[in-house]
Point group: C2
């Protein structure tokens, strides 16, 4: 069944699409930096995960979430989701797999 286009819904969705493009590009930059962090940690013999750093990030982002009207619990889940991917990359770097390309697998 074809659904009629709805101009009001389409306008809101266009804004969501713009924000999503910005999110993807920021995430790409973030993984470039964490890639460099991973290589640096591997060369310095530092462990891939850093629970104290992660706790500090979560506390800071929860506070930013409250300021900006975002759910702090969702924000914490969001950071943990990204950090899990980063640690996965760092473990691969530490294991000697240098073929990662800016966060791509």
């Amino acid at each position: 069944m074809a659904i009629e286009p709805d101009p009001q819904l389409e306008r809101m969705r266009a804004s969501i699409d713009n924000i999503d493009a910005a999110l993807v590009h920021l995430l790409a930059e973030r993984f470039k930096i964490t890639q460099a962090v991973g290589e640096y940690k591997a060369s310095a013999g530092l462990p891939p995960a850093d629970p104290a750093r992660e706790d500090a990030q979560i506390a800071r982002l929860r506070a930013l979430a409250v300021e900006s009207g975002l759910d702090p619990s969702f924000t914490e889940q969001f950071l943990r989701f990204i950090v899990a991917e980063v640690i996965h990359h760092h473990q691969r770097i530490a294991a000697g797999d240098r073929d990662l390309d800016g966060g791509a697998r």
Copy 2:
């Protein structure tokens, strides 16, 4: 055990923190818009989830991910993670809970 501060690591982490602040603020804006979408859908009697729209978003973001050097699979997981939260909000709006505040629970 205290760990010595490492200037190179701290510099990279400061950039990650800046990107994370931007991500949180963009997500806050995104949930403001999806909140409006949810209210509009509820008033128009549209269902909270829209699988065809979701498929189109995923295809678009996977393409943007490839362009920007991000893992397309991770990007898809990322969108599904956010959309799951949005649908949860929309279900609450459809159920008559109007106390959501810009994505806050």
